[in-house]
Symmetry: C4
Subunit: 259 residues, 4 copies
Amino acid sequence: MSGDGVEDATVKILSKPKLREPILIEGLPGMGYVGKLAAEHLVEELRAKKFVELYSPYFPHHVAIEPDGTLRLLKNDFYHASSNGKDLIIVVGDVQAVSPEGHHKVVDKILDVAEQFGVKQIFTLGGFATGRYSRAKPKVVGVVSQPELIERYKGHGFTVEKGGGPIIGASGLLIGMGKLRGMEGVCLLGETHGMVVDHNSAKAVLEVLVGILGIKVDMTNLEQRAKETERIIERIRKEMELRERKERKPTEEEASYIG
Amino acid sequence: MSGDGVEDATVKILSKPKLREPILIEGLPGMGYVGKLAAEHLVEELRAKKFVELYSPYFPHHVAIEPDGTLRLLKNDFYHASSNGKDLIIVVGDVQAVSPEGHHKVVDKILDVAEQFGVKQIFTLGGFATGRYSRAKPKVVGVVSQPELIERYKGHGFTVEKGGGPIIGASGLLIGMGKLRGMEGVCLLGETHGMVVDHNSAKAVLEVLVGILGIKVDMTNLEQRAKETERIIERIRKEMELRERKERKPTEEEASYIG
Amino acid sequence: MSGDGVEDATVKILSKPKLREPILIEGLPGMGYVGKLAAEHLVEELRAKKFVELYSPYFPHHVAIEPDGTLRLLKNDFYHASSNGKDLIIVVGDVQAVSPEGHHKVVDKILDVAEQFGVKQIFTLGGFATGRYSRAKPKVVGVVSQPELIERYKGHGFTVEKGGGPIIGASGLLIGMGKLRGMEGVCLLGETHGMVVDHNSAKAVLEVLVGILGIKVDMTNLEQRAKETERIIERIRKEMELRERKERKPTEEEASYIG
Amino acid sequence: MSGDGVEDATVKILSKPKLREPILIEGLPGMGYVGKLAAEHLVEELRAKKFVELYSPYFPHHVAIEPDGTLRLLKNDFYHASSNGKDLIIVVGDVQAVSPEGHHKVVDKILDVAEQFGVKQIFTLGGFATGRYSRAKPKVVGVVSQPELIERYKGHGFTVEKGGGPIIGASGLLIGMGKLRGMEGVCLLGETHGMVVDHNSAKAVLEVLVGILGIKVDMTNLEQRAKETERIIERIRKEMELRERKERKPTEEEASYIG
């Protein structure tokens, strides 16, 4: 966001860790907050370190307020961690872009960063909505960039969806646009109602991922994290509603209070 | 979609067939899926070969899932075929652009590719909605870039609409923007209800086209293809509805199932 | 619209007439079609000649069908004429841009052309909606770029609106953005209901304009022209409605007619 | 807005005052018009001088009509003033940008100007909606770019909101994007209903600001200014409604009046 105008996205590189063919893992806000919950849990449990921040004019024109009373732009963050001899880059964040064009441009920038650090493999995490509540263990659907990946990863507890419906947003675009750059990709989607923050689905998705990667992650705090997320979302929703209601005209009596 | 940012559209050229003044035929999704059905049927029956893929940030931010469980970006595909000594380029695809600006930019890119391969003539295929169901053979309306084309092609079973309403999307823009590049164009629109995938209308449009081109195409599988298309659209529509419903708040009882 | 991408607008110059400080007159579609009617009447009566066509990706993604059955892109046209020793450039057209950004960009291009031909003075024509029908002679409001223009042109039958509401679209932006280029401008707005093509209002606006310019224009055909415009708009509206209705699901019985 | 196309924003510099590390104060239209009222009052009382105008294609495609009957583009204005040995730049204006992308680009341009004149510190003024009317003195919430600013400015009568909801528009983005340029920022938001022009909230916000800056500002005219603003907004709202109603079809009887 220099004086020469705002680019599609601004990438702020905080450090340049040396990573050997790191695996990109994405979990941005989406259906049931499944991907975001899963990826943030991974950041926490693996004590991953933030090394890149990405800002974009295609994000909403809001800013976030932190628990310490400071304000910051909405962003996507890149963390790196190592586990079981594998280098990981984990992308989490506040938001996805607003418009179709913005989605494409931000995902393209994420892939630029990924390529710069040597990424050849991508796992994206998300949810798929069923509109139903169920006490059963959530199903995890895997969608891949190349058919041979189904064979390679089968037996890790995900179902292959043949000819399923569209995947909306970064989880799909990262795999699709990454494929054009020669990257392999797997999109793991946990079954979820769609309307609530769903830690059960996030857990199911994470279990498949850690199985594939051969790493270990404690799931204990996941439920607690989901509850906090739900609380934050609920508060923001209420405040947004207030802003939208402002168009209603005050009654005579109400208006008399102004002044 | 290189590291230098996302352009208006990314053209991936798979091969460079030598074509002699090929004729461009377009059938992208639109009213009654008439154009898409007709053009895809042509690709199939003429055993056309794909040689160009076109991606754009102006397409929706979805990805498609293939029957083999792999995922890919939405795109427009260029096929080439020869029939009756004529070289044809057939453009089919998943989608059209989302915004007015995107429509113009994608069509401009399609014309860039067309020009590069020597196209001087364009036929675009689509439907026009009547809002009525009828058992009669659907009427086909022809709209042209230059008045002399009416004379040249008359007697091939299409009606000329003098001063008709606007044509929306690629079928119209390709002819209009192609005309600015000195290309001739004919837009063939089959009468259709507008709400269902209409193989009868597609057949009527194709019959006019093959008459003009002097080629032969078996129409037998067209109805079967329409039914498959209807099924796919119906499934995607249902899944999209689920996603949209996610805003509704769960009841207390429902919410208790989460956790 | 070359192979290098679609610019904000494409200007096709058909001829380069030598004009001495020509006066720009604009009448694009808007409230009550007042400006369009007035400017088109002027083109006709002064036998003005088209010399520039302007296309833009910010226009709607439709094409228009001409009375001879040919199709063309939506556009804005520049005509030139001479009357009473004055050179005039008259801008008419099918549409205005769709988005706020598009409006600014297209108006900027119109001003580029105007500047290239030496324009220093602009008159824009339009309507302002009252929501009322009246048999009285429509009032004409004049809004100017510099206060001295009120003094200069007073006595020509327009009212000055001090602190009135916003003027939307090209008629206002042309004056506002032209002022930044050092051009003088007057916006003449005829009182109109807002919902019908209003030749009475167009006539009132034209009478003020021809008074200021000291030219003579026969008003006889204006009513006939308004009726034709109304007919065209009505037909297009009906066809657009049909397209929008296509989302409704067919009944079982209706659907059985397909196939 | 030169002939080379419309940039993200056009900055017209009227004069280049020498300012020593001036403090930027922003008050653009928003919730309850709190920020706009407060900043305009400051301009008036400090007899600040306009030195920069900023235009953008991302602003609405309207123009404003001045009390003297002239028309002008919507814009943001920069004023400078000195008080208590401090140089101030005050940004006020008609509007904010329309789209998320536009918001980012216009704020970026404002920061370009600020940087050019040596700004290191920003105060943005606005309101936060409660949806309630209250006769109590409005609370002022302060949100900051760096945690140490809370300590530095505490005791000036604002509350720190820890983890509050998002701040929409320029007041938040200026602090957030300014922080990326190394600037310090404080956003002061006055409690307001959200639906009416609220001079009480503006006064509360101003009192905090003048306390921090150590300057003196007479608040007497603030209520009068709020009433004028309310009147202008109300008139514009009514005129906009008229424009939107124009889609309704006239009755037979009404239509007969045309002609």
